[in-house]
Symmetry: C2
Subunit: 352 residues, 2 copies
């Protein structure tokens, strides 16, 4: 089956150039259809530039464009902007998804606006009370899925259980793994550790229908100790941003140390290939985008700083999610769980 994936050309720090390049690049590699959503006039102008500079041969007639001339800026207030800018790429994109005119939507724009528009317009999957943003984290073993990294900063324990269930299914379907493990991010392995909130979640997880391995300490996030790592959106966002900042500073420290030493500078020529390999390992562009789980539709949120490669890979993540019918599976699984009586008790005991 061939899908139609909408891509927000106006969203992200390097829009419209990088999203456009990424969309064209993706179109060359996939059989599905990429639909560009953004300011049509601007897309035309950018395409002309690309023709001159990057020798891209595609004609505007070959592209499917949906005009969305308004722009939600990266620092616009989410709730207000989606109400006021009805012709923005984000609102138009989510609306197309709702109406079934596209099958997935990818945006590197204002995260809050994408989350709000998705939640309000697509609504949540039955059994989900809050959406969660999940990101792929490269680990020493393979890759883990960390959820939530910022959609929900005042969560209830039950929301984290829903994240655990959704992430398990997502991981098993998209990364083809049978026994998916779930860990709860905490400051110690013992169940008595951590704030009251996290201890309640631990209790809930212990009797929940997930493969819960217990608390996961932050030092083990990157060792690949478990497949899905669950935390509240505040802690997850801090973990994500801290990691990005740290990798950047560490890289700067290291290159400065090398550049200030003549012998090392010479050595740099030899290790260049390894540094490239290393960079690709920690490069978020490799993993594309972050699936927004819990909404009624495939929505992928790209990093604000996404380059064309990240955009291309985000589109591929969307297609993988569609191919495995992740949303249908989550819907079915949640229904099954909620119909089970003991789970009902578990949930009602946790929400008291």
């Amino acid at each position: 089956m061939s899908y139609r994936v909408g891509i927000d050309i106006s969203g992200g720090d390097y829009a419209p150039l990088e999203p456009l390049k990424g969309a064209i690049w993706a179109q060359e590699e996939i059989d599905d259809k990429v639909v560009l959503i953004g300011d049509k006039k601007e897309i035309g102008q950018t395409l002309e530039k690309l023709k001159d500079k990057d020798k891209i041969k595609i004609r505007i007639e070959d592209l499917e464009i949906v005009d969305a001339p308004e722009k939600i800026e990266m620092d616009d207030l989410a709730a207000m902007s989606i109400r006021k800018k009805r012709n923005s790429s984000i609102v138009v994109g989510i609306d197309l998804l709702k109406k079934g005119k596209i099958d997935a939507f990818v945006s590197c724009g204002n995260t809050g606006a994408v989350v709000s528009a998705s939640t309000l317009m697509l609504r949540l999957i039955e059994g989900v009370e809050r959406p969660g943003i999940s990101v792929f984290v490269p680990t020493a073993k393979n890759v883990s899925l960390l959820i939530d990294v910022g959609a929900n900063v005042n969560p209830k324990p039950l929301h984290l259980l829903q994240y655990g269930i959704m992430a398990s299914l997502y991981y098993s379907l998209v990364l083809n793994k049978r026994e998916v493990t779930v860990g709860l991010l905490n400051i110690g392995e013992e169940e008595t550790k951590g704030p009251d909130f996290v201890r309640t979640v631990h209790k809930l997880f212990s009797s929940a229908p997930i493969n819960f391995i217990g608390n996961l300490e932050a030092k083990d996030i990157f060792t690949g100790k478990c497949d899905c790592i669950i935390c509240d959106g505040f802690v997850g966002n801090i973990a994500l941003k801290l990691s990005e900042g740290l990798v950047e500073v560490v890289g700067k420290f290291l290159t400065d140390a090398i550049k200030n030493d003549p012998l090392s500078k010479l050595g740099l020529i030899f290790i260049r290939r390894s540094i490239r390999k290393f960079k690709s390992l920690v490069d978020y562009a490799e993993y594309g985008g972050a699936p927004l789980l819990g909404v009624n539709g495939v929505v992928i949120i790209g990093h604000g700083r996404s380059n064309s490669k990240a955009v291309k890979n985000a589109i591929k993540v969307a297609i993988k999610e569609l191919n495995r019918d992740v949303i249908g599976e989550i819907r079915g699984r949640l229904k099954e769980i909620y119909e089970n009586n003991s789970i009902k008790e578990l949930i009602s005991s946790a929400t008291q």
Copy 2:
């Protein structure tokens, strides 16, 4: 003035060897007196080994040892262990500090036990409701102080204000800086960002007698954007452990990439000097230990994995704190603040 610094020889993953080596090393470099607290027999045996292996010439008669034969293990429950193991190095050390027989106590042992013993036996400085563990974080500019990294995982907004006041003073006294800046760790710069708890703290900080620069995003922790970074103990502990884990994995990724590439392996010889320099920049051993702020006494908590260098530097951190009379200054400053009427209102409004 000459001080007496007690060091827990039984605490830490590499005890008694590394704490003992660190204590001897420190004694060679300082005029103050290092007091060894631990199992006297074991210390004697370890010293014999050191004489053979490391050519250390010191005789046991030259060392001041206080016998504390019991051991609190790294995974013992804090509250119970300090009640049951009265002859442990931690309880004996804090007791010596309380009685004025030593002026500071350094331990790389069970953090929870050190915090509990300090809080219960030394009591808190008037005006402080919870102690906080502060760590030095190397940044692209200089060094920042992050508090709390785990002493208090269910804090009230007022506790964070007390951390902000203590950290500011600590930084200004120990690192000789006049205009110390304070940032609140959050997921965005706007005051409307973050969980309800953090937003309340933001309000409190905005009218507090500290040089508050607003929210600090996690990506900026290592850029050196502000001197003191305040957060709750859960988030701080996760940030700390995540950073350690990430630096380790990044190092492994990079060396693996280099080792698997023959050309890079050759280059490694050239860049060895730079790697050493880089390692010293991110090595926690350089910064010694983490000051436990808020208790009535100078207590430094070392990393569980401390080597002798970290122990030596932790002892030096303790002496610096004593030389600047950090505790006396904190006590005075808090008294001054609490006597100010408008601050009283601010505090009562925040605690409602």
